[in-house]
Symmetry: C2
Subunit: 205 residues, 2 copies
Amino acid sequence: MKNKKDQDTEQKILQAANRVFLKKGYEGARMQEIANEAGINKALLHYYFRSKEKLFDRIFREAFSNFWPSIEKVTKGGNAEIKELIEAAVNGYMDILEDKPFLPAFIVGEINRSPERIKDLLLSTGLQPEKVLKIVQDAIDAGEIVEMDPRELIVNIVSLSIFPFIGRPLLSSMFWESTEEFDLFLKDRRKTVYEFICRSIMKRT
Amino acid sequence: MKNKKDQDTEQKILQAANRVFLKKGYEGARMQEIANEAGINKALLHYYFRSKEKLFDRIFREAFSNFWPSIEKVTKGGNAEIKELIEAAVNGYMDILEDKPFLPAFIVGEINRSPERIKDLLLSTGLQPEKVLKIVQDAIDAGEIVEMDPRELIVNIVSLSIFPFIGRPLLSSMFWESTEEFDLFLKDRRKTVYEFICRSIMKRT
DNA sequence: TCTAATTTTGACCATATGGTTAAAATAAAT
DNA sequence: ATTTATTTTAACCATATGGTCAAAATTAGA
C-alpha cells in the first residue's frame, strides 16, 4: 500500500533519473548522481527500482512514448488532408522538442546502443505507420502532390523537424552567434519547415 | 625512432579504437575491448596512447574531420552555382555516410556529451561556413531561388542528408521490411533529396 | 500509546575498469 | 656475438560503481 511520502520519493527519483539519463545516456549516467539529484540515499534507488537497468527501462519507455506527436485529429476522420498531416506532424514535433530538446539525441543514441529492443518498443506504442503512409499515398493518387515514395516524404518531414535539435550544438556554433539565437530560429522554424515541404510537394501550375 | 612493427601496432590499435568508440561512444567503450579487437595486451594501449581520453581524442578528431564533405570545387571559382552547391553537399554527405554510417550518431552524441569542445574543433577543421552562406545569399539576391534565411537552407540540406543515417534503426523498423531494404532506399536518396530541395527553392514560373 | 509495517540510511561487498610496473621478448646497433 | 634500445606481456593496483544488508527512523494501525 502506497502512502503520500512513497509517491513523493518515487516521483523525485523518476524526475532525477530522467534528467541524468537524458543528458548522459545509460552508460554515462551514475546511480550516485541520480541519488544526489533526487536528494536521497543511493540504496533507496534500489529499494524502489531494483537495478539501474530497470530504472533506465522505465525512463526510456516513458521517453519513447513521449516522442511521437499525436496526429489522431488528422488520421481519425477518413477525409485526411495531406497538408493537415504535415502541419500536425511538424507542429507536433516542435511542441515536444521545444519542451524536451534532449529527447531525440537520447532516443536515437540508446536505440543505437541496443537496436534489438525497437520491435518491442514500437509495438507498445500502438503507432500505426501504415495510416500515415496511406494519407500520403491517397494524396499522390488524387494528383494533389508530386509523385514520390510516400516513405520518402515521411522521412523528410521527420528529418527536417528533428535533426536541428540533435545537431543544435554544432549548428548553432557554426551559423549563429549564440545558442539563444539558434533557439529563436528553432521557434520560427515550424512555419518555415512547413512551407519548405509544401513548396516541394505541390504540383506546378 | 619508429620501425615497421611500431607502425603496424599503432595502426591496429587505431582501427580497433575506431570501431569500438564509434559503435559504443566514449562512456560505453572499454579499453579491454579495444585491446582484444586489436589482438594485443591492454597495457600496450597505454604504451602507445597514455590514456583512454588521449586515445579517444585522437579518434574523435579524425572522425570529426572526416565528417565534412569537400565542396571546394564549388566554392573555389567565384562563380558559384547554388544547384552545384546543393548537389555537392548532398552527394558529399552520402559518399561519407554510406561508407561510415555510424559517424553522425557518434559525432553528435559525443558533442552532446561535452559541447565545450566544439569551438576548438571547428577552428582546427578550417571550415568556412560564411562562404557557403554567401553562395546561398547571392542566389537569393540574384532572384534565382525563393527568399529565405540562407542558414535555413543549409540546415535543411544537412538535416535531410544526415538524419536518415542517425535514425536508421528506427526508420527502417517502422517503414521498411529490413535494414537492407532501407539501405537501398538510402542509396537512391541522393537523387531524390536533391530534387526535393530544388523543387522547394526554385521560383514558380 | 504501543506495536507492526514501511521507508531511509550508512556501512559494506564484489566486481569492473583505467592505469602502472617490472620483467620478458624482440629488434637494432656495435 | 654482445650489448642496447624498443616493444610486449602478465601480474598488480587504486578507484569507481552497481548493488546488498542490517539497523535506524518514520509512518500507519490498534
